[in-house]
């Protein structure tokens, strides 16, 4: 084993993470190489030095603030549910009014579909699937990239994954 390779292996060597054979090879090289032995000493010294950096405690209220945000996010999700089931939980509407609302929704949905199809074919305002696949890949969330464009799941992924900006 040469010096370059030995020095690359020092980190895992120190941590006892090498196979028995690899460990023995590094040890063998160290026994006869002053430069690499010095490098090992430096590495040990560096570990001690870095450990002197203080880690401040988790900020007060960190979890509280986080849980508040999560609660708001989950309400957003419930909001999507309400759009999908608009009559659930609104007993105040009379059956006549429900009919009227339903008729209105059908018209609105029809317009929405037409507009949607127009935009879809134009493709200008839709985010390219490849961007989203790349982003999902970045976070090791490859399975997210599999949600079909235009599906509700996909819409949800968009809602929740664009908060970082692009």
């Amino acid at each position: 084993m040469n010096c370059k390779k030995t020095q690359r292996k020092l980190e895992a060597y120190q941590g006892g993470e090498l196979s028995r054979e690899a460990h023995a090879r590094v040890e063998h090289h160290l026994a006869s190489c002053a430069e690499c032995s010095r490098e090992l000493e430096h590495a040990e010294h560096l570990r001690v030095t870095l450990a002197r950096r203080v880690t401040p405690p988790v900020p007060d209220g960190f979890r509280h603030r986080l849980m508040e945000r999560a609660r708001r996010e989950s309400e957003k999700e419930v909001g999507i549910g309400k759009i999908l089931h608009p009559f659930r939980g609104s007993p105040v509407l009379s059956s006549r009014m429900r009919m009227a609302v339903a008729a209105g929704m059908i018209v609105a949905t029809g317009i929405g579909v037409l507009v949607g199809v127009g935009l879809w074919n134009g493709g200008e305002s839709s985010r390219r699937p490849t961007d989203q696949a790349a982003e999902a890949g970045d976070y090791g969330l490859d399975y997210l990239a599999g949600t079909p464009e235009g599906s509700v799941a996909n819409a949800y992924v968009r809602l929740t994954s664009t908060d970082q900006g692009e």
């Binding site: 292996k9 430096h42 030095t49 870095l50 401040p56 999560a70 090791g140 997210l144 929740t160």
Partner: protein, 175 residues
Amino acid sequence: MASDEELMQKVAEGKLDAFGDLVRRHEASAWRIAYHYVSDRAEAEDLAQEAFLKIFNTASRYRPSARFTTYLYRVIANLCVDHHRKKSPRYIAEIPPRESQDDAPDKQLLSGERSITIQGALHELPDRQRMATVLRYYEDLSLSDIAEAMDTSYKAVERLLARARKSLETSLSDF
């Protein structure tokens, strides 16, 4: 006690309590990584919160094939590295907190100076070297865990850490 992976299943069912348990277990790790990477408490909190929220929002698609911590490290490492790439920040030394109330003032000063010097040395490292260093020295991850967290090969991690070590040894030679 429920495993992290079992808690994630519950989070996927919309259970906020389970999410709270996961946060309680892992907030210190997420915080430590983000803090040592960005060296700014406000930014580190933002990043750690973003990481947990990302996990919360995508829980329904989580598959327990990988350990939860691997997943957490991956999300936080990505957010940190991305964030800094976008922002290309000007590094400003942050005054570190006191180590303990009992220390004599001169000792506190010394430890504060030490922390600032180490902080500065870490900030001179390129993004990925710095992340590998933080995961190794402050989170005690094995090289293979770092490889998974950074979505790279074991060999690449060896190289990142070896290069980082060379630079740090030079910039911290007075210690």
